[in-house]
Symmetry: C2
């Protein structure tokens, strides 16, 4: 490491410490803030964001990056990779005129209100002009960033969430995945859905059980929390503070549990990044949303929906959460939580069909962005695609193309990262099973440490040193492919559906 790097890192740490005050304002807004404080909270968050943006784009930051670049770091070192990422972030941040940032913030805030009204009234037409406006601003934003080498304009948006990925690469993986998933669903249709679990559990008991589970898998509650919110999320609030939230429904304890496990997966990644030594540096930041999602889906699904997990968890669930569970066998719970059936709502979808929901959105938003279709074409196309891929036609737009907040919020390019997460997860876990003998069997006894250590050593500790695709090849020896996810889903679901 060089002095110049140290100077850059110290400056970036200060910026990140300031930004983390904004994270707390945001977390508090969704957890404990009194309702009447919403307006002034926006002012507080805006104030911190403005100061942070200024620090991230100012001449002092530019000079420190230039000095670090010229300081003779070993090009193969982690610190050189860090400077490369500092440069990318800086160049992106300064390319966006602050007027555009302001307009995007204002318009997406209004568009989200319009979306909420349209969804409540099943009135897509009233939302269409807002959607056109947001897409227009996103096109302007993409133009500011410029089209990445070898890519298309849409990639500039995608790269906000998945750096260096291209829509073409994603399409190349999504296409075989879609085809084989569709065939799998046809197969499963021949079988019978597993019997559901019918118990009730108080929210407070569900919370206790959730805490027990996340501590057991290695989430450090001395450096984190679990709270309740309308929508589950994971938020880091400083070098030693990563907070999770979930929600509880008394008749569906699995909602809360899988929400908790999902966010704990994100939290374990955050806690596994070298935050103490490198807070504010790319070395302690996550690679991409796709890699982040691979960690959350891994604990939620690969671990949390395994027979071995339930072999360990069921007695604890019965004693902590609800005695009614004593009458169930691990095998019954395992089958019930792996029901795979086409449905209309993405966030309620099972592991297999979930990816089809994502692909529909990816295809539509790419076409919208390219101006091949217009906002008003969305409802018709949406329903056609749901009929074709999932065999279901939404009875209204509320349960159709108005279900997600993302487009109104300007989050174009975000959806594909959900399925990328599932793909990375499956590919990583095939390797983990090769590397760790008896991995799954260990879960039966509540042993999750070997898996967490493997994730820390292979993924977490690198921060942003490698690109997602590069990390994937380093860890698994292969470029990202649809095969591991398909093998995982087919080998799990066929026996459950006896086909």
């Amino acid at each position: 490491m060089t002095d110049a790097y140290q100077k850059l890192a110290a400056y970036a740490r200060e910026t990140a410490i300031l930004a983390s005050a904004g994270s707390l304002l945001d977390w508090d807004q969704q957890t404990y803030m009194p309702s009447g404080a919403a307006e002034s909270r926006a002012e507080q968050i805006g104030m911190i964001a403005m100061l942070v943006h200024t620090r991230r784009t100012c001449a002092a930051m530019r000079d420190r990056i230039e000095e670090a670049e010229a300081s003779g770091l070993d090009p193969q070192s982690a610190h050189a990779a860090s400077v490369r990422e500092f440069r990318i972030d800086f160049d992106r941040a300064v390319r966006l005129p602050s007027e555009l940032v302001g307009e995007l913030a204002r318009v997406t805030s209004q568009a989200q209100q319009a979306w909420k009204r349209a969804r409540a009234a099943d009135a897509f037409a009233s939302f269409a002009p807002w959607l056109e406006r947001v897409i227009g601003l996103c096109r302007t934003k993409a133009a500011c960033y410029g089209t990445p080498v070898g890519g298309e304009p849409y990639d500039a948006l995608l790269n906000e969430y998945e750096p260096a990925a291209t829509a073409a690469q994603i399409e190349a993986v999504f296409t075989p995945l879609r085809d084989r998933l569709s065939r799998l669903l046809v197969e499963l249709r021949q079988g019978k859905d597993p019997a559901p679990i019918k118990i009730k559990a108080e929210a407070a008991r569900q919370h206790d059980f959730g805490l027990y589970v996340i501590e057991s898998i290695g989430f450090d509650l001395a450096r984190g929390r679990l709270d309740t919110t309308a929508h589950p999320f994971c938020q880091d609030i400083g070098p030693d503070d990563v907070r999770l939230t979930t929600r509880y429904r008394e008749e569906h304890f699995t909602d809360g549990l899988y929400g908790t496990l999902h966010e704990a997966g994100h939290g374990l990644y955050e806690q596994g990044l070298p935050r103490d030594a490198h807070f504010g540096e790319p070395l302690a930041q996550s690679i991409s949303l796709g890699i982040h999602e691979s960690q959350s889906r891994l604990w939620e699904n690969w671990v949390g929906r395994s027979l071995e997990f339930w072999t360990w968890a069921l007695p604890h669930a019965a004693s902590i959460m609800s005695a009614e569970l004593s009458s169930y066998l691990p095998e019954q719970v395992y089958r019930a939580v792996n029901t795979a059936r086409p449905s209309l709502i993405r966030v309620e979808a099972d592991e297999a069909t979930y990816n089809l929901h994502v692909m529909i959105r990816f295809e539509l938003e790419r076409a919208l962005f390219r101006q091949e279709i217009e906002a008003r074409d969305i409802p018709g196309l949406w329903n056609e695609m749901y009929a074709a891929l999932l065999g279901l036609t939404p009875p209204d737009d509320t349960r159709g193309c108005l279900q997600d907040v993302h487009w109104s919020a300007g989050l174009l390019g975000y959806f594909p990262t959900y399925t990328l997460g599932n793909l990375y997860m499956a590919q990583f876990m095939e390797q983990a099973e090769r590397d760790i003998p008896g991995l799954k069997a260990g879960f039966c006894a509540g042993s999750f440490a070997a898996l967490l250590e493997w994730l820390r050593a292979n993924i977490h500790r690198h921060g942003r040193r490698y690109r997602a695709s590069e990390l994937c090849e380093r860890v698994t020896g292969m470029p990202l492919s649809a095969d591991p996810l398909l093998r995982y889903l087919e080998s799990k679901l066929r026996p459950i559906y006896s086909c």
Copy 2:
């Protein structure tokens, strides 16, 4: 109002919005922060404090104050008073060299650790050098501020908490108060302590009852909260966000209730300041700690320990908090919560003896500051004064001169504001009773709005327009005097003790 004033106010609002992010960091540290985040939290709080201090002492702020001063405001207007206060704050802030601020922060942080160890081990000698060091730094601070006109050097510290007050004025009120309080205690010693209330109430039920009470007295829970912490406090976190905390002991529900009422009194003052229109300006800030304490003690004691309050509250307490209370009469609870008996610990003291604890500290810290005594003399003097004033000798320094955190934290000049609060309270309330017919009788029916409106009209809405002594004369027609507090205590306690 002038354009220059508006410019100054806008700048100050931004500073206050930034500072409020620091308030949330502080509140969170005491409520929900994971234990492992303590170190980085200090970094976050320090970062915001540094940015706020820079904004408050920079040339831009000075220029805006100068422009407002020269903008031809009506000298009798609220805005002119606001500019006067802006100037005072600025001049004080720039007088402290930042090295001194840093050293004070560091040394008091270490001294608090030393105090905790000394208190735990009953080892005053190990704390004495730290106390000397803190007092020395406080003397340096007072020298930077300069001695206020007509005052003594100690007043510069006092004025951090009680602007424009002098130790001589305070002494002139404290002396007669001490003498008559001592005589009252001798009288009461002839009577018998009321029977205590012996019930148990779960913390969660106490919390529900606390919420019911503070909503009933007018605390707006849409712009505030109530949480649980080791030490109760009230913290404002923005224009529409004032948060209270309390603590619960199952066998002593009155601890939690009076903690809640005390903090709610502070909170009602904060919510009554014109925060929406003037956040960040002196017009929406409290006058002094003495006035702030008058509001907290008023709801805690004048209202919350009245027979009329219990006439209303007892059935609600029985139904919300503990059915065991149904066997008590309001009169019994009223008598029990007004037990007046000398004790060793200030924070557990009753309304009458509390002020004697404060006076001992005031006298000692003034003598320390003047170098008339040394830190090592404190234990002996402390015990002599407790024997003389309260008739009790602490069995050790832990229950004696090591009981309070204030001196280790550098809070010299803070203690007298506690008794000032009681004095202002009694004097304000004599006037309120003259102004509002049937004031106390209204409490029997849960009517507290007339009192709150009176406080808002006479005290809260003025912000820092008037000095504390000036406000006292405006509201009550009289300078601050010991008589109202003595009349209040004597007329309440003599009947309870049948003397």
